[in-house]
Symmetry: D2
Subunit: 154 residues, 4 copies
Amino acid sequence: MFDFAPKFPQRHHVRIRYSETDGMGIVYHGNYLTFFEVGRNEFLRAVGIDYRSLEEAGVVAAVTAAHVSYAAAARFDDLLTICTRLGEMAKLRFRFEYEIWREEDQTLVASGYTEHALLDRISLRPARLPERVRESMARLEAAARSFKERFLQP
Amino acid sequence: MFDFAPKFPQRHHVRIRYSETDGMGIVYHGNYLTFFEVGRNEFLRAVGIDYRSLEEAGVVAAVTAAHVSYAAAARFDDLLTICTRLGEMAKLRFRFEYEIWREEDQTLVASGYTEHALLDRISLRPARLPERVRESMARLEAAARSFKERFLQP
Amino acid sequence: MFDFAPKFPQRHHVRIRYSETDGMGIVYHGNYLTFFEVGRNEFLRAVGIDYRSLEEAGVVAAVTAAHVSYAAAARFDDLLTICTRLGEMAKLRFRFEYEIWREEDQTLVASGYTEHALLDRISLRPARLPERVRESMARLEAAARSFKERFLQP
Amino acid sequence: MFDFAPKFPQRHHVRIRYSETDGMGIVYHGNYLTFFEVGRNEFLRAVGIDYRSLEEAGVVAAVTAAHVSYAAAARFDDLLTICTRLGEMAKLRFRFEYEIWREEDQTLVASGYTEHALLDRISLRPARLPERVRESMARLEAAARSFKERFLQP
């Protein structure tokens, strides 16, 4: 059994495509940022936020920083589990944290984080949030708070 | 010397990135559509059309069909030559044809074509062309005509 | 209900990632070759062939040609169905055919085919098939035959 | 004039492809790891190391960590300059640092680093270095030392 369960309640599976491998016969390291993206979107969906509707309301969650630590190689056809949780959150900024595990041999493949800022979709500058988006962010904050209370308290 | 020179006067070089290779140790077959895209944009630039300004005028050249024939494998760090020419052209539709050669051993790596339709950028439906775009298309037609006269006449 | 069911019994779902969209706000046309690849691998898995074990036996199924016809635009977060079937098959060559549909509004998004040749993994030349691979190909031929009998007879 | 010249003597240009943009109309954040890779390979070529020959000698430079800070959005057809330098170096480990600038308006687009370990190509474990690779690493160390002497001394 994975022991990261309590810390990363949100999980999603991806199967490695041939297009995602490189000449070393392993997953190209840049593709993990895409797997993080998949984990993040599924996290948002799970707490009731449709990222597409955020954009339709004129707001994007631009990536301001990204970090990946590579622990083991993944290969074509591997079934990976993307574990996602919300880290710190400030007004218009938030951070997601990730671990990627291989099911078959319960190996940590990669971990990392992405940092985001809510920006106006057209100007790409910090913007007033429409009501709809404010509600989404409140829902996100509640999810983060509830997560901390449940899992990170002594 | 390559003998395709007269038929494909427009050429552009790309060096294969590690990210473009796959687990077979060769370029992933899907990436050739990106190389065709690079050749097409450089072709347009050469005849004085900035694709970005086309989009700013509210028009996109959507791809309606694409075909690739793979002749030889390309590998990491290979220097490839993308040869591009304009095929048939009708009112709002046109077709580009491509050959991709490896410099080092003068080997044909892939050939193919893409077909395009000019669409309204927002609705993605056939649209009236702004004056600026009409001029671009006329320039493109002139390029195609001049090409045929120079290279394809007996 | 989709009416392509009888012709394409093998189906697999993919959800569009943000990384797969382009500046038009739609799926980049080159990515459909990756979706075809996903459909193909799931087809093989369904008839009992693990592509990875094929490669371990020293054989690759190189792509020799690919064609895509684009019928409608797909967007971020769309849930698409990849329908795959085996087309013609000769000794060391075979062809897969695909349709990609959007679940939500039952729209055909793209269709096409890929052609393949079984090659030696190192030399990338036609090669004698190991016994294990022969069995796989026989299983594939049986699948194709059974499919034709069930669905394409009058 | 860019003022990063002395700190990042190695530069290489890339033009943004349509395939590299995403639905926000900007370069997908994951692609910067590919641009870092391009900068790294050109850096190695400039100091006389052909990465391909490293692999032929049975050694790969696996990525063990990667970090990107995003400073500004880049768009389709932008001409970017990848500035690369060697950071710290230990026995079988080294680190590259990068800045990516947009030529047109002299804007910093992104910066970051990648960390690498030399591994056996097959086992992906730390390995004895063949003589050829030892020479390459010595050349790399000399390049790093000479760089520090020239640019980072008081």
